[in-house]
């Protein structure tokens, strides 16, 4: 009986460790995807001159979960009569935050960007996109750094911490 309990504890703490480490890895991956999506957006805006809805539709098919869900929802919501684009963007960002590993800071950068989308000429729009990419790049560097430092460590710590509890209990 005791042994089963011990297994449970080790399993639970290891899972916790893996989960925390996954969050770090996922954030790096998702930030990368966001940057790529902004670069594609820039090309579509400046060269193809598509509407936002068309652009989101294109982005949707080229990205992975959960970023693709974000653009997918935006595409759908732009179908009806839109009075305020920013409020849609903002709401969708909030729901992206709940399903992704992005931090509040990452989301805030995109919120700021949302205020500029579709409000400027192509030349200025491009500047805003590049500024956002720059900020996201900084976050990405930081996230990579954290991932390298802590990802494996968290996994080990999770397992070892479980082991420690078990030893103390026995």
């Amino acid at each position: 009986m005791k042994i089963i309990g011990a297994f449970c504890i080790v399993f639970a703490t290891s899972f916790l460790g893996f989960d925390m480490s996954n969050t770090l890895t996922n954030r790096t991956r998702q930030l990368k995807q966001l940057i790529v999506s902004l670069q594609m957006m820039e090309a579509e805006m400046v060269y193809s001159k598509r509407t936002l809805q068309q652009i989101f539709h294109v982005l949707r098919s080229k990205l992975d979960y959960p970023i693709t869900d974000f653009y997918d929802n935006l595409t759908k919501r732009l179908n009806g009569r839109v009075t305020n684009f920013y409020s849609i963007w903002s709401q969708e960002l909030e729901s992206l935050r709940t399903i992704s590993s992005l931090t509040a800071n990452d989301v805030e950068i995109l919120q700021q960007f949302g205020r500029t989308i579709g409000q400027h000429s192509a030349h200025e729009q491009r500047k805003h996109i590049q500024l956002t990419i720059y900020h996201l790049q900084l976050e990405l560097d930081q996230s990579r750094d954290k991932q390298q430092r802590y990802a494996t460590m968290l996994k080990t710590i999770g397992f070892l911490f479980g082991l420690l509890i078990v030893i103390l209990l026995f």
Binding site: T51, T83, I117, G118, Q125
Partner: protein, 308 residues
């Protein structure tokens, strides 16, 4: 009408709907001017919405709706001063202009809008077609008229009739250069008005380039062009008529004498390029006159259309 309602702020849209009730068919223009009441211009009267004032927020709203929340797309439109929306309706813009090297770069603060409602009137040209051709060919034809006299509507219907043909004349290959997207009202290259089964349309293309592109690649019998005005347009049209293509085009002018005096059109009249000239006038608010002249100034027909 849905597309027009779509671009107006909800409160204004409601006020307009209340005022118009069942007069949508007669509506020609909706004019929005900043800090001023909204003007509804009907076929034979003008109506003002005194209690609804067009505010700055409404300006931004309309502009956003026009661009589908993508202002970066409108560079050319803001330079030319008009946007064509779904359904072929044209929205004219005015405001403060930014210049670059002494030419217009774009309109910075758009504060005046003129929503012109496009209408497809089928068979309006039918009665005039026999005057515009001999047994095998159509004549080069110039349609002259002041703004809002129905030049484009007539041109569109002529394109349709020429390309579909009739029992007297088989359909001809028609190439339409639609610089302002008014003839076909194309969206993503697909015309929304019916322009005939043998018609090809080059949308949003500058006339001078479009004429040569069409002649080289699409082998048209008849070339249809809207609103010629500059010396370059005239040159291109002369080239086309000498390349064995019939040209039908419109030009802004109020009378027959005036159009003959326009400096940029001089080469055309010196060479007697146009064998037929159709003059559209609107002497009364609800009545159009249509006169057809030969190149020597002989009147072949006088007709009038009454708007119901």
């Amino acid at each position: 009408m849905e597309t027009i309602k779509h671009i107006l702020p909800p409160s204004i849209c409601e006020a307009i709907e209340k005022r118009i009730v069942n007069r949508w068919r007669l509506l020609e223009e909706i004019r929005l001017r900043i800090h001023l009441p909204i003007e509804l211009s009907f076929f034979s009267s003008v109506d003002w919405l005194h209690e609804t004032v067009f505010t700055e927020e409404d300006c931004t709203y309309v502009l956003r709706q026009l661009s589908e929340h993508s202002l970066y797309r409108l560079e050319d439109e803001l330079r030319n001063g008009y946007i064509t929306i779904t359904g072929g309706h044209r929205v004219g813009l005015a405001g403060e202009v930014v210049t670059d090297h002494a030419s217009v770069s774009h309109i910075e603060h758009v504060t005046f809008f003129n929503i012109r409602i496009a209408r497809e009137v089928k068979n309006v040209a039918q009665a005039y077609m026999p005057f515009l051709r001999n047994k095998t060919n159509y004549y080069n034809t110039l349609i002259v008229g002041a703004p809002q006299t129905g030049k484009t509507t007539l041109l569109r219907d002529m394109a349709r009739m020429i390309s579909d043909g009739s029992e007297h004349m088989r359909g001809q290959k028609v190439a339409i250069i639609d610089e302002r997207s008014e003839i076909g009202a194309s969206k993503d290259g697909v015309p929304q008005f019916y322009i005939g089964k043998r018609s090809d349309i080059m949308d949003a293309c500058p006339k001078v380039d479009g004429i040569m592109m069409m002649i080289r690649s699409m082998s048209p019998d008849v070339l249809i062009v809207d609103e010629i005005g500059t010396t370059k347009d005239v040159e291109a049209i002369l080239e086309a008529t000498l390349a064995g293509v019939t040209v039908i085009c419109t030009v802004h002018s109020a009378t027959f004498e005036e159009v003959r005096k326009r400096p940029s059109l001089q080469p055309i009249f010196q060479m007697n390029t146009f064998k037929r000239i159709i003059l559209l006038t609107k002497p009364y608010a609800d009545k159009y006159h249509i006169d057809i002249f030969t190149d020597e100034g002989k009147k072949l027909l006088r007709d009038f259309v009454q708007k119901r």
